[in-house]
Symmetry: C2
Subunit: 260 residues, 2 copies
């Protein structure tokens, strides 16, 4: 009798969730101040994004850009200078026009978070551009129309002068978050088990009866309030041990030192 | 017979969802460059946050701060200069230590988004501080320990040099988002009704049969693919009218111009 063939194992692909960031291109249009180009490069680099295209920068290269990049020189060194937005978008499959304002334009408008989510999803497979305007007038309507989506950072109604590098920072941060970079909780410290915590509460109650703080004839809601406090703290094993050690030290005269 | 009393209307409170931002204080500790203080003020102001406290700034006031604030001078003018973090935190009920790194500290650590959500919830009723360290070494462990929570911006493992004003921008942005500033969709253009869209598909099919593009004997999946395209676009009433106008202009010789 032949044994049935074992089920074939399906290949497992290990995917780096931050991989889409390598498919993100930041495009800065007509930037006036080289310092902003450097600050944008730094903002990108902190979020793991390195592809920068500059459309008609007014002063570039410039020592001020290098200074403001604060070490993100690799981004500046590999940046491409283009003469048209079309050239900068070449090869990308999707472009987000990034703005701090609502505008009446031809493309759908969403907020920065939604735009980053969509951009990151497409960037899993295809290059995506995020396009930023110049310092004084932002993106022109023609520049926005060359994109697929308008991503807008909500700003105060009476002060929407968001610095271009700050806007790059927010969008790149949202892209990194969209790639699942949200912080994983710390490797959880083992929480104390129910029985351990209950034993602590009993120990606590005995102790404060002994010290005279809790009158068993009129307990009021003292234990309830203490339980509420410690429940909120989510006691860990070691913490219960510390607290019980303190309680023991209160009632057990062994090792008690005279006050200095 | 007496009429029953009409039900009393409960009072309606109109709450400004951005109100908690008025309860947010940004605290900058030991900032070295006045330009960063100005840029932080601008970042705050764009997000509707105006309460700034400076703990031992190295150079302040300074024209560079004013220049980088780019108009957010009200924030700088009302900023308080303090000599201790305790002084800057006075009156607040909750403080978030803001950092770009994981740290081994005494307070719980969450990411910037979770920290902002918690801070905004508390700021509905009580003042909350967000505390930022200096440019070179960030917050000291003692400074972090004076706070209730560590909020961390996820950064690239090989480049975590986030500018302090950029960090302020991200946290203030997250606070504004936490207050429900996410963009509401544009006042929806009325979508075309099912019948209108179906009538358009019929019109389209008739037209491309007439032009010879679709062979009714071998339709393959052409209409299905066209339907899929237009379904994705979610046609609006006016757009259906435009498209049908185009179709009519194809088959109706009236008004047809000779090519120039």
């Amino acid at each position: 009798m032949m044994l049935p063939e074992p089920p074939r194992e399906r290949p497992v692909f290990y995917v780096n969730p931050l991989q889409p960031l390598k498919n993100i291109r930041i495009v800065l249009c007509g930037t006036a101040h080289p310092g902003n180009i450097g600050a944008a490069a730094r903002a990108m680099r902190t979020m793991g994004i390195t592809d920068l295209a500059l459309v008609n920068p007014q002063r570039y290269p410039d020592p001020q850009a290098l200074w403001m990049a604060a070490g993100a020189t690799d981004v500046l060194e590999s940046a491409r200078v283009c003469t048209t937005l079309g050239e900068a978008l070449s090869g990308t499959a999707f472009a987000v026009a990034c703005s701090a304002r609502r505008r009446d334009v031809a493309v759908p408008m969403v907020d920065a978070r939604a735009a980053a989510t969509e951009a990151a999803a497409i960037a899993v497979e295809q290059p995506v551009a995020l396009v930023f305007g110049n310092e004084t007038s932002g993106l022109s309507n023609d520049e926005v129309a060359a994109c697929n989506l308008l991503g807008s950072i909500p700003v105060a109604e009476d002060f929407w002068s968001l610095n271009v590098a700050a806007a790059v920072q927010v969008f790149c941060y949202e892209l990194r978050m969209a790639c699942g970079a949200a912080l994983q909780p710390d490797k959880a410290q083992a929480l104390a088990a129910h029985d351990e915590v209950e034993a602590f509460y009993e120990h606590l109650e005995r102790t404060i009866v002994a010290t005279g703080f809790l009158n068993p004839a009129h307990p009021r809601k003292l234990m309830l309030r203490l339980r509420r406090l410690f429940a909120r703290a989510r006691l860990q094993v070691e913490e219960v041990n510390i607290l019980r050690g303190i309680l023991s030290s209160v009632t057990d005269p062994k090792g008690r030192r005279k006050p200095d």
